[in-house]
């Protein structure tokens, strides 16, 4: 599948501070890409470069195979993390303005605005000024303003922040709908629950560097470390040659759950057999780490590595 947008070794620095260290990512057509990373990792910087607001110092960004130019911004919809609208303008005028900015003719813009207002059940609000409508309503207007020109690529920076749960779900549905219509979406987020249910692919960046990239199932699979969960009615004993570590915990309903890290030589099949021998087995499952766990682990790992690499050798600490 062709990539809508891809970056190769994109580098950007503000003065001394490197905010994007040779990041390469690609968003395939009709897919959703999730960009994860702790605060200040460089997500917004990368997203701004994709949205043609800033340019990389080095490296290349390609849109539909062409080097990214300002004109491509017409085929993108962009919603920044910090967002706002003209308070004194009416909802309809505002949307018309954005549609025209994205290259629509006046007539096309009017049709698109009407269609979207209708869809969002906001026809009666069209003539209201933004300062007169509720915050949730304004958020909807905000989202419509970046999709109404039917963009091939939707770039969303923290799309769920600031939205109440009902509107966040609405946005989620709209994002999925865009994907199903063949458009691509890249978004950044802190919220792991959205990542697993929405994304086809995700990347984690930390300190301006990409530390992980892949499809959600790939990543989870690759982080599977041979851990299993076994449940019993009564406490049991496992032969020690099977396991690396084991943890026992008693659940509320009086059952006993064991988390077993196997030695790599054993297959799940072996463990199941041994487990059945040990007692009356009522529950057996693979423990595939959640994206949240992977995120925390990856970032912690990256922190550790970067700390090591920047630690100053003792000789340098001596004053000249």
């Amino acid at each position: 599948m062709a990539n809508v947008i891809e970056t190769s070794s994109v580098f950007k620095a503000y003065g001394e501070q490197i905010v994007s260290k040779n990041i390469s990512i690609a968003v395939a057509e009709g897919s959703i890409y999730g960009l994860l990373g702790p605060n200040g990792a460089g997500k917004t910087t990368l997203i701004r470069m994709l949205a043609t607001i800033t340019q990389p110092d080095r490296g290349e960004i390609r849109f539909m195979g062409e080097p990214l130019r300002e004109k491509h911004s017409q085929k993108m919809g962009y919603m920044p993390e910090e967002r706002g609208l003209y308070k004194k303008m009416t909802v309809a005028d505002q949307l018309l303005f954005f549609a025209e900015l994205r290259g629509f003719s006046k007539k096309d813009a009017q049709t698109a605005v009407k269609k979207w207002l209708h869809r969002m059940d906001m026809m009666e609000w069209a003539k209201k000024k933004v300062e007169e409508i509720s915050k949730g309503m304004a958020q909807k207007v905000q989202f419509v303003s970046c999709v109404l020109h039917n963009p091939q690529l939707l770039i969303l920076d923290e799309p769920f922040s600031g939205f109440d749960p009902v509107n966040a779900d609405l946005i989620k549905d709209l994002i999925l709908e865009q994907r199903n219509a063949g458009h691509s979406i890249i978004f950044s987020t802190h919220r792991m629950d959205n990542v697993e249910s929405l994304c086809d692919r995700l990347g984690i960046i930390h300190n301006g560097e990409k530390v992980l990239d892949g499809t959600v199932s790939e990543i989870r699979r690759s982080h599977f470390k041979g851990a299993f969960e076994l449940g019993y009615h009564n406490p049991v004993f496992f032969p020690t040659h099977l396991i690396q570590t084991s943890q026992m915990r008693e659940t509320n309903d009086g059952k006993f759950t064991y988390t077993i890290q196997t030695n790599s030589a054993f297959s799940p099949q072996d463990l199941l057999q041994e487990g059945m021998k040990a007692g009356e087995l009522i529950h057996f499952s693979e423990l595939i780490p959640s994206i949240h766990d992977i995120f925390v682990e990856t970032v912690a790992q990256a922190k550790l590595e970067s700390n090591e690499s920047v630690s100053i050798p003792p000789s340098k600490l001596i004053a000249p």
Binding site: I53, T54, E70, Q74, Y86, R102
Partner: protein, 462 residues
Amino acid sequence: MKNIWVIFKREYLSRVKNKTFIIMTFLGPVLMVGFYASTLYIATKGSDDKRIKNVYVSQMIPFINDTLLSHEVANNSNKAKKNGTESGLLNTLLILAPSNKDSAIEHVKRGSVDGWLSIGDYDFSTLDSTNYYTLQTPSMIEMEILNKWIQDRAVQNAYSKLGLRESQIDSLRSQGSIKTKELSKDGNISDSSSDLKSGIGFGLAFLVYLFIFIYGSMVMRSAMEEKTNRIVEIIVSSVNPFHLMMGKILGVAAVGLTQFIAWIVLAIALISGISSFGIGQQKIEPTSMVNVPGAMGNSLSAQQIETIQSTGDAHSLLALLENLPYFQILAIFLLFFIGGYLLYSSFFAAIGSAVNESSDVQQFMLPVSLPLVFGFIIAQSVALKSPHGILAQVFSMFPLTSPVVMVVRAPFGVPISEIILSACILFASFFLMVWVSGRIYRIGILSYGKKPTWKDLWKWIR
């Protein structure tokens, strides 16, 4: 380019549709006239202190004729009584001082009189030993009045020595004032008035000054609003920041021009309404009233001017207005108003994009607005005194002051070569500034957080 138009349209329509704009368009001229009228009123009516000042006056030379002074004093007090405060000596009542010097001083000290004018010379020919004793420092105007009174006395004294009476002296003064006749290179002679030209020039310069500030700060607020609203990031994702700035500057300029044209149309409607009403009552049949404004636009022959002049002041003023180089004045006004606005508003746009909140504006506003204020001061003093002088010439070339100074000179006739040169300098510096401002704008609109310093701005430009 299309995006400049979209931005332009939004800036223009959102402002023109605004209620404040509509109200100001109708109320503006009224406020402006009111402002002028009240300053004029205050300037002519002088102080708010309506109290009549009592001033002792005495001549310390014992042998000169006391009767002359007492006659003057009596004359003054008669006038003051008759006209109230409108005496010949504006709020001042002269009283003959007691012959004892110490008691005169004592009265001034106690405040029973406001001052004591002690004239040390018998025929007023010198004022070296003439003193004014007073408790409070007198105003310049008070001193001016006393000085003038003594000067007048000196002249009258001299005339009366020749045996002339007061009424005769008054009739000796020439009546009216000098009329200016301007010669053009091709031999035409036309009436002219320096007062009128100064007035018009100054009025236009004031408009330019006011408009640059009003609309320049509108551009600034607009940039700031977009930044604080966080809407700017969405806009720059589809518009080049430079185009955004240009669209904004041009959109607000169009608002200013719209307002200005509305004012001109209102003024013409008002003036032609008044004049057709006035003349129509006297001579012209109601059916031909429509022709009046048109007739006024035609140039009048010399003979017509003569006849008009003899019919009275109001008409001669009209004739003088006829002779002004309208086209040149209007062309200079528009050219330098637009050029000045563009130059300054690109500064203002850069400021608006750099700051985070309105309280940070001040530190950047001052150095940017100083040249404009300075230009206005130059326009007030130098250009009115010597519109063709070297100072006026220099500052009508300097791009930061030329929008005001050149406009004040316009009615006096400025050589076309100077106008072209100055306009070229002005527009060239606009293009330079807009490039510089564009660079500040580009980075400024996306920089939040700490208050920018001059050093930051310099870094952004480079």
